[in-house]
């Protein structure tokens, strides 16, 4: 199989996008989006990682079997995150340590 040649123009566009993403991350870090802070930071990071995998790591031009391996790896990551979060999200968060009841025999 011959190696796919990616034009320098594509690399430059992707590099510029990554730099833009970095700038966005820095900007977002100084804003307060309340509960969305982490969502926005991880969202930008995920888009940047996807660009790196697709273009710099040539996943977009790779054979189907290689793409399957990447999808499976992401699926495994999803299993790890989903089942871990399943524990965190279903824990009782409002536990209060009540004083033990004492019964006196009269």
């Amino acid at each position: 199989m011959s190696e796919h040649i990616v034009s320098p123009k594509v690399y430059i566009v992707i590099f510029a996008s990554l730099m833009l993403g970095t700038g966005l991350t820095v900007w977002a870090a100084f804003q307060n989006f309340h509960q969305y802070n982490i969502v926005i930071a991880l969202g930008i990071a995920t888009i940047k990682a996807t660009l790196v995998v697709l273009y710099f790591m040539h996943a977009r031009y790779s054979p189907g079997r290689t793409q399957l391996v990447i999808v499976c790896s992401i699926f495994w990551l999803a299993i790890m995150l989903a089942l871990t979060l399943a524990d965190y999200d279903t824990r009782p968060h409002d536990i209060t340590l009540a004083a033990p009841q004492v019964f006196y025999c009269v």
């Binding site: 495994w76 299993i79 089942l83 399943a86 824990r91």
Partner: protein, 559 residues
């Protein structure tokens, strides 16, 4: 070369991988890219770690001879069981069968000349050595006392032992495991001989394919997790320490996401070994080939979904605990499929009690006990009582030692004639297998009772009423040690004085038995073409088993 019936006057082939003349002396070994030589380099390395772990285990058992502790201080005791676990799990059990037998056999079994990436294969051994070097540095500069699980914040904040080099060593060693798994997957996909279809692959190869999936998908997680614990320890970054905004339970989730599937890295290859031995010495095609192959993949996949059963008592949510308990029960199904298929293969088989078979039968018995007691631990209510007791210690030793090590030693006996070209004394090796079985059970069965009675693990002392069972366990450990030293002695002896084995001494049906013993550097004189189904004894006249064929010389004519 074609297989021929054995004759008593066999000779070693003139040229084989052990005497091949590429380079000189030690250099030809340290720079080799031959998968068989790399396998032997691993054999020597894992044996060193096995002995280090074994010596530490011996010290633990001697210490526990008396209720107050007979040998070391409490602090040293903590270090003994930690170093025993680290040496045995990360540097013996995980690499043992894949790196030794997988490396040696997978190319031979699929009719290839080598693994897909021979240089990466050698690199993985050097990475193993570097990782092992860091860990030995940790052991020799005071040792570490966190338990092999490195739970935070003990490991990342409070322990004042040599945690950092050990964590770095295990992080580095992870890459060795990943590269080995990658090599196996690519090799099995791309380098099979003509006619070697997926469903003609030996079950050993299927087991290693499943193991490789676990290695590749799981190892990066534990490597990064331990690195994060190391960063927290060195630079006070808050990942797991609540005082720094971290979460200690997150460490346990990430650690067990790898470390539970790691149990399957240890046991799946041993199951592959047993799947080769059983049909060979029952002289029957294996029962339910496709189910055994599929169950290997099922164990690898479901094994990734059960990790938090190690965390039932950590404050895990009830819903998560129920889910993980159910999934843990589920993984017993493919394991049981294998056991039922092995025993069905034995049914009406022409069973011979050659040493590998004795080990394989021992494996089945011990694995069944280990597996069933795992179901006890997966039960939410019962686990609260026996969590962190000796019941757990006994359970996982039945899986890891009774299962994985029994499979490893059985495999060593099965393929030793292929590796060295020579046989070992039959009666002595059967005796050693029985010694190992008896010693193992005497060591670990009392620990089930101790755990049930409430003796916690990792304590350097215990109430006097537990002494009898502890003394029994220590007595068993000394018998077990003999069970390991005996094979080591006669296998080394056999390298020089053993009877020449010939290409296929058992005889067995795999492709690896159709070449010389020891094999050529290139494995086969001519690329083999596979025209038979796996484990088919009936349509293989070359095995010499058909009625009227020349009688086989006994494999072990020397005793």
């Amino acid at each position: 070369m074609s297989n021929t019936p054995l004759t008593p006057d066999l000779e070693l082939p003139d040229e084989h991988y052990l005497n091949a003349t590429y380079g000189s002396g030690i250099r030809s070994w340290l720079l080799t890219t031959d998968h068989k030589r790399i396998a032997l380099l691993y054999l020597a390395s894992v044996t060193v770690f096995f002995f280090i772990g074994g010596v530490l285990a011996t010290m633990i058992r001697i210490h526990l001879l008396t209720p107050g502790g007979a040998l070391v201080t409490p602090e040293t005791y903590n270090k003994l069981f930690t170093m025993h676990g680290v040496a045995m799990i990360f540097f013996f059990l995980i690499p043992s069968i894949p790196a030794v037998f997988g490396n040696f056999l997978i190319p031979l079994m699929i009719g290839a000349k080598d693994l897909a990436f021979p240089k990466i294969n050698l690199l993985s051994w050097y990475i193993y050595l570097i990782g092992g070097g860091f860990v030995l540095y940790s052991f020799s500069t005071g040792g570490l006392d966190t338990g092999w699980t490195f739970y935070t914040p003990l490991s990342s904040v409070y322990s004042n032992s040599a945690v950092t080099p050990a964590v770095i060593g295990i992080f580095i060693n992870g890459f060795s495991s990943i590269l080995t798994g990658l090599n196996f997957i690519v090799t099995i996909h791309t380098m099979r001989a003509p006619g070697m279809t997926w469903f003609r692959l030996p079950l050993f190869a299927w087991a290693h394919y499943a193991t490789s999936l676990v290695m590749i998908l799981g190892t990066p997680v534990v490597a990064i997790t331990l690195l994060l614990a190391g960063l927290e320890r060195m630079f006070h970054l808050g990942f797991f320490n609540p005082a720094l905004g971290g979460d200690p339970i997150l460490f346990q989730h990430l650690f067990w996401f790898y470390s539970h599937p790691a149990v399957y890295i240890m046991i799946l290859p041993a199951m592959g070994v047993v799947s080769e031995i059983i049909p060979t010495f029952a002289r029957k095609p294996i029962f339910g080939y496709s189910f055994i192959a599929g169950s290997s993949i099922a164990i690898a996949v479901i094994g990734f979904l059960v990790w938090a059963h190690h965390m039932f008592v950590t404050g895990e949510s009830t819903y998560a605990a129920l889910t993980f308990s159910f999934l843990s029960y589920l993984v017993a199904i493919p394991s049981a499929v294998k056991v039922f298929n092995w025993t069905s293969t034995l049914y009406k088989g022409s069973i011979s009690w050659d040493p590998p078979m004795v080990y394989a039968l021992g494996f089945i018995g011990l694995f069944v006990i280990g597996g069933l007691t795992g179901l006890f631990l997966a039960c939410l209510g019962l686990d609260i009582h026996i969590h962190d007791t000796y019941f757990v210690v006994a359970h996982f030793h039945y899986i890891m030692v009774g299962g994985a090590v029994m499979g490893y030693v059985g495999g060593l006996h099965f393929w030793w004639p292929k590796i060295t070209g020579r046989l070992y004394p039959k009666s002595l090796s059967q005796f050693a297998a029985i010694i190992l079985f008896v010693g193992f059970n005497l060591t670990f069965f009392p620990q089930f009772i101790l755990g049930y009675l409430g003796m916690p693990r990792r304590y350097h002392t215990y109430p006097p009423e537990f002494q009898v069972l502890n003394v029994l366990s220590t007595a068993g450990a000394s018998i077990l040690a003999l069970g390991y030293l005996l094979p080591m002695s006669y296998l080394i002896w056999s390298m020089r004085y053993g009877k020449v084995a010939g290409p296929n001494p058992w005889p067995a049906t795999g492709l690896e038995w159709k070449t010389d013993s020891p094999p050529l550097t290139e494995n086969f004189h001519v690329t083999p073409e596979v025209t038979w189904e796996p484990y088919d004894f009936q349509n293989r006249p070359d095995l010499g088993l058909a009625a009227g064929a020349r009688p086989l010389a006994p494999a072990h004519g020397d005793d």
